[in-house]
């Protein structure tokens, strides 16, 4: 329980620091605060996708349903964080550029990850037997594993060239004040711990469901 208490204080503390201690990014003004949550959420989305894909490939090799539980749980949590990242990104874009959505390369990439999560979970919901569902979902992860690099690095660039209407303020790498950088990474760590905690809970639930489903069947 100490670890959880630490996590509670860690994230709470850095939220306070984000508002009181760290200065604002010159151009972004108050909207900097959103980035403290938007970017860690996006990071966890990618982390969860990687975690899910690794466990999917492990399932194909070892055929141990434990890997499938991990992959499915990571996908569900990843989808949650992806929605948070997308919404917070849109809010931030509205504040910065006056439009919720304008297919900015980063927005496009996050949205595509949302599509992959949705497709993976839709596929899982359409298969009943646990072994077959695990196997086919893992095969789909394998395909998505190949598509992700193209979706994140290539398609946004192409799309960017298709609609090169000038952006008012491209969100390039802003030279961050050291204090901002500290708060930013601290929250990144905090979110990652949060992910692993919720992931472990979801996996334990999946184990109980699998066992319970067994005794019912």
């Amino acid at each position: 329980m100490i670890a959880r208490g630490l996590l509670l204080l860690w994230i709470a503390g850095w939220i306070v620091a984000a508002f009181l201690w760290a200065p604002l990014v010159p151009v972004l003004g108050e909207t900097t605060r959103v980035l403290y949550f938007h970017i860690p959420a996006a990071w966890v989305t990618v982390l969860a996708l990687g975690w899910s894909m690794v466990h999917s490939l492990l399932y194909l090799k070892r055929r141990n349903l434990e890997h499938d539980h991990q992959a499915a749980a990571a996908a569900e949590i990843g989808l949650l964080f992806c929605v948070v990242a997308t919404v917070s990104g849109a809010l931030w874009a509205k504040a910065m550029w006056g439009a919720y959505w304008n297919w900015d390369p980063r927005e496009t990439s996050i949205f595509f990850l949302l599509l992959i999560y949705a497709a993976y979970l839709a596929l899982r919901s359409a298969i009943d037997q646990p072994e077959r569902r695990a196997r086919l979902a893992a095969v789909y992860s394998g395909i998505a594993f190949v598509s992700v690099p193209f979706l994140i690095f290539v398609v946004p660039r192409i799309y960017f060239s298709l609609h090169p209407d000038p952006l008012i303020n491209p969100r390039g790498k802003v030279d961050m004040d050291p204090r901002i950088r500290v708060v930013f990474f601290a929250l990144l760590v905090g979110f990652t711990m949060l992910f692993f905690w919720v992931q472990s809970l979801r996996v334990r639930v999946a184990r109980v469901e699998h066992r319970r489903q067994g005794s019912v069947a």
Partner: protein, 220 residues
């Protein structure tokens, strides 16, 4: 591969073979070893895993645990290649409805890389009493004729191991009689495993695998 087994013969083995559907174990730690040629009956009440066992041996299904091994021509055959070394016929084996009986067989022969597929297909059709039905579409065949087509398919490339799941189903009396004699002489040339509860077919077998309702097999 010559029609007969060649000198090394064929052995099929199960080593602590277990298969579960969800949590229900169909059979657990099933072990046996049979050397061909010969006939083995796989017997047991409904749901005791007769069909599952044959599907596992055919390489169509991956066991929950344990393994099955097939050695033929002095070589152990990995599960991935096993489909080329066995003949399999089961009630759920369906053919392409829009293709004729002969087209189905010659496709199968060609896909397996056998020489002169059409001639081979015609021969097997004659062997199971389907001559004259070559150009009939698979969906137009009666259930008895479809069963004969399955047996023809199983024999397509003279496999060392024949796996027949309820081979006598849907057959008329004449069909059953010719099936019995046919299994008899095939049994002298290859290893034939028949999953059946039909006394007459069971009687043909020299050896048995008894899949009890408890799911534990003990060769007779």
């Amino acid at each position: 591969m010559s029609a007969a087994l060649g000198d090394e013969g064929v052995t099929v083995e199960a080593r602590a073979l277990t298969h579960r559907y969800g949590h229900r174990a169909v059979f657990e730690r099933l072990s046996f070893s049979f050397r061909g040629p010969g006939i083995v009956a796989v017997r047991g009440p409904n749901g005791s895993g007769k069909s599952t066992l044959l599907r596992l041996l055919a390489g169509l299904l991956r066991p929950s645990s344990g393994e099955s091994a097939l050695t033929a021509g002095g070589r152990t055959i990995p599960p991935r290649e096993r489909h080329r070394w066995i003949g399999y016929a089961a009630p759920d084996l369906a053919f392409y409805p829009e293709l004729t009986a002969l087209e189905n067989l010659s496709f199968a022969a060609e896909a397996r890389g056998l020489s002169s597929p059409a001639k081979r297909g015609r021969e097997r059709l004659r062997k199971v009493g389907l001559e004259g039905r070559e150009n009939e579409r698979a969906d137009a065949l009666s259930s008895g004729m479809a069963q004969r087509l399955r047996l023809a398919f199983a024999l397509l490339d003279d496999p060392p191991l024949l796996l027949l799941d309820e081979p006598g189903s849907h057959l008329d009396d004449e069909g059953r009689r010719s099936l019995a004699s046919w299994i008899g002489d095939e049994g002298s040339r290859r290893l034939v495993m028949i999953a059946t509860n039909d006394e007459r077919e069971g009687a043909l077998a020299g050896q048995r695998v008894e899949l009890g309702s408890r799911g534990v097999g003990d060769p007779a």
